[in-house]
Assembly symmetry: C2
Homo-oligomer: 341 residues x 2
DNA sequence: TACTACATGAGGTGCGTACCTCAAGCAAAG
DNA sequence: CTTTGCTTGAGGTACGCACCTCATGTAGTA
C-alpha cells in the first residue's frame, strides 16, 4: 500500500499533529522531533498525495500570463490556447488570468508584476522583452514567493527560474540549414526581416543563422536585417526599398511571426515566386502561404505545448516539486506542406 | 463557487442518495427523477471532481502496454520512458504493466489480449503489427469495457478507438520533400530500406514518399525497398548486393528505426559519404550518425510524448471523458545536426 | 386488504490530507 | 514554588465524492 501520514506517525512514534506540523512547516517542533519525522518519511518512502492535499486545502492555482498587447496572430493563438485550457481546467483547480502589457514600456510591465501579491496569485508567466526593469520585477516576485517562468521571449532572470520556449539559437541554426540546403547553389543572397533586433529572440535566431551560414554555406550572403517595428505602412516601404537596393535575392528569412502586412508586401514585391522563404510560427497567415507554396518552411513551436508546459512548471513550483526538464523542453518543429496536416 | 453534488441535489429537489444513483448509474431511479437530476447537472454546469472521486473510490488506473519483444533501440527507449513515468506516477494512482509480445505471432498477441479482464486492467496500449487476430482481440477488449489505444504501429480497430503516433503517410511525404530538396539535382537514385513491407507504418511511409517524389521530383528514381527482416547478418548481404546492382545511389531512406547493424553495413558500403541519408526515430545510433554527418535528417516522434499521450487518452477513456484530439496529435519532428540539442 | 416491488430519503463512513482547538507535559526563569 | 513559554498529543471538522444500510413512501398485484 502507498504510505500515508498515519504511517509516518506510527514509524516516527509521534502524533498525527506533529507529523502535520513537520509536513506543513508549522512552528513548534523541536529539531530532534523534526528529524525523527523526516527520517520516517524517507524510510517508508512517503509521497504526499497532492490531489488529496489540494482537496483538503481547497487549493486553487491562480496563474497570471502577461502577454504583449500585440495584434499579431501568434500571440492571438496563445490567447486562444489559454482560453481553451482555462475552460478545460475548471475541474482542475486552475484559474488563469491574462494580462496585456504594452510592448515598449518595461516600467508598466514591472508595475503590473509588482502589484501581484501572494494572496491573489500563485504564479506568473511573463512574455516580455528582456529589460532590467522586468528582470528585477521578476526577481522581486520570486522573493515574494510567487512562482515565475519566462514565457517564449526573454530569459529567466535567475538560474532557478525556468524558460518556456524553444532554444532560439538552435532555431536560427535550423533555419540556416534548411535555407542553405534548399537554395541548392553556392552563392546566393538572403534577405532577413524582423520586428526589431532589440528583441532577444530575434537576436539569438540571427546569431544561430549566421553561425551555420558561415560554417556550412560560406557562399551565401546574409543581408543586414530589415526592421519593420510592427508598422504595416513601414513594412511595405522597407521591403520595396530593399528590393531596389539588393538585386538577385534568392532567399528570405523572417525571424518572427509574419504579419499579414509583411506577407502581402513580400507578395507584391514578387519575392515569393523566386526565393526560398522561411518563416517562424505557424499561424493562419503563414499556414496559408505555406499551402500556396509561397513559404517553403515554417519553424514553429506548438502553442498548446507552450501553454501546458508553462502551467505544469508553475504548478510544480507551487507544489515545491521538481519537474522533469526533459519533458518540458519545447521542440523546434519544422513544418512544410508535407507535414502540416 | 464550483458546483458540487450537494448543489445538484438542491436544484433537482432530490436527496444526495438519488444524485449519487444517477451519477454512478446505479439502479432504482425512475426516468422522471433521472431526467430531473440530469437537467439540474446541466443547469448548474456541474463537473465531477475526478481527483476527489478517485480518492473516494480508491481508484488506481491499471494500464498495460504491449510492446514487441524487439531488441531495437526505439522500443527500448519506449520501455525506458515507461519506467520513468511509472516511477513518477506512484502518487498519481497509475500502475503500468509492460508485456512483451512476439513479433510474428498474432495469435499469441491475441491470446494475451484475451486474458485481460476488467477486474485487473483498465486500459491497454497495443503496439503490434496489424492482423485480423489482433484487431478482433482489440474489439473484444473494448466489448469487455477495457479502454484500448493503438500505439505507434497498426491502426485502431474501430473508429472510436484512438491511435497514438504520427501520421505515417505524412512522415513519408516529409522524408521525400527533404530528400528531394537535399539532393539538389534533377535525376538521382534513392535506396529505400525497411524491416518488412508487411508492417503498416513502413507501407504508409513508402506511400507518402512515393507520392511526393512523383509529384515534385519526377527525376528521382526510388528503388524497390530492401527488406532486412531484422536479421543482422542478412542486412550486410542485402546492402552489399544492392551496392553492386544499383550504381550511382545518391540517396538512402530508411523507413524504420535503424539498427546498429544496418548503420554499420551502410558505413562499410560507403553509402554515407556520397548520399543524402534520411532515417526514422532518434535513437542512440541515429543520433550518433547524425552528429557524425552520416545521416542528414531524422524524422522522429518524441517517445515521452507518445507514452504520456497514450496514458492521458487511456485515463480519459476510463473516466468517460472526451479528450482533446488536437492536443493528442503527435507531431512529426525533423531532427538535424542543427536542432538536435 | 394485505402483500410485494420499487423509488426515494436520511444518514453514516471512509479516502488522504489540512487546519484548528484545547489540554497536558516539561523546563527554564522569576 | 509559581509563572511563562514551548512542545506535543488527542481529537474534531472539512474538502468532494463513493458507497452502504435502513427506513419510509407509493403504486401495483393477488
Amino acid at each position: 500500500m502507498i504510505p500515508t501520514v498515519y504511517d509516518i506517525a506510527k514509524v516516527a512514534g509521534v502524533s498525527l499533529a506533529t507529523v502535520d506540523r513537520v509536513l506543513n512547516n508549522r512552528p513548534g517542533v523541536r529539531k530532534v522531533t523534526y528529524d525523527k519525522v523526516q527520517q520516517a518519511i524517507k524510510e517508508i518512502g512517503y509521497v504526499r498525495d497532492i490531489s488529496a492535499a489540494n482537496l483538503a486545502r481547497r487549493k486553487v492555482y491562480r496563474f497570471a500570463f502577461l502577454l504583449p498587447e500585440s495584434q499579431g496572430p501568434f500571440v492571438a493563438s496563445i490567447r486562444d490556447s489559454l482560453d481553451t485550457v482555462e475552460a478545460a481546467k475548471i475541474t482542475d483547480r486552475t484559474r488563469i488570468l491574462v494580462h496585456s502589457i504594452p510592448i515598449n514600456d518595461p516600467h508598466a510591465t514591472a508595475r503590473i508584476l509588482d502589484r501581484f501579491a501572494p494572496e491573489d496569485i500563485d504564479g506568473v508567466a511573463v512574455m516580455a522583452q528582456e529589460t532590467p526593469q522586468v528582470r528585477d520585477a521578476m526577481v522581486r516576485l520570486r522573493d515574494r514567493n510567487i512562482a515565475v517562468v519566462a514565457f517564449v521571449s526573454g530569459q529567466p532572470p535567475v538560474a532557478q527560474d525556468h524558460f518556456v520556449g524553444i532554444d532560439n539559437v538552435a532555431a536560427g541554426r535550423t533555419a540556416a540549414m534548411l535555407m542553405g540546403r534548399f537554395l541548392c547553389c553556392d552563392d546566393a543572397r538572403v534577405l532577413t526581416i524582423s520586428h526589431s533586433m532589440q528583441a532577444r529572440d530575434s537576436l539569438e535566431r540571427r546569431l544561430g543563422f549566421d553561425a551555420v551560414m558561415r560554417e556550412q554555406f560560406p557562399g551565401v550572403e546574409v543581408l543586414p536585417t530589415l526592421e519593420t517595428h510592427g508598422d504595416p505602412v513601414r513594412v511595405g516601404k522597407v521591403i520595396a526599398q530593399a528590393r531596389r537596393v539588393y538585386l538577385n535575392i534568392s532567399g528570405v528569412y523572417m525571424f518572427v511571426s509574419a504579419s499579414s502586412a509583411l506577407l502581402e508586401s513580400l507578395r507584391k514585391a514578387g519575392l515569393f515566386s523566386s526565393t526560398v522563404t522561411i518563416a517562424h510560427e505557424l499561424t493562419l497567415h503563414t499556414k496559408q502561404s505555406l499551402l500556396k507554396g509561397e513559404i517553403d518552411a515554417v519553424i514553429t513551436q506548438n502553442v498548446g505545448h507552450l501553454v501546458r508546459s508553462a502551467l505544469r512548471v508553475l504548478r510544480s513550483k507551487c507544489d515545491g516539486l521538481n519537474f522533469d526538464p526533459s519533458q518540458e523542453k519545447i521542440r523546434i518543429e519544422i513544418v512544410t506542406r508535407e507535414n502540416i496536416h
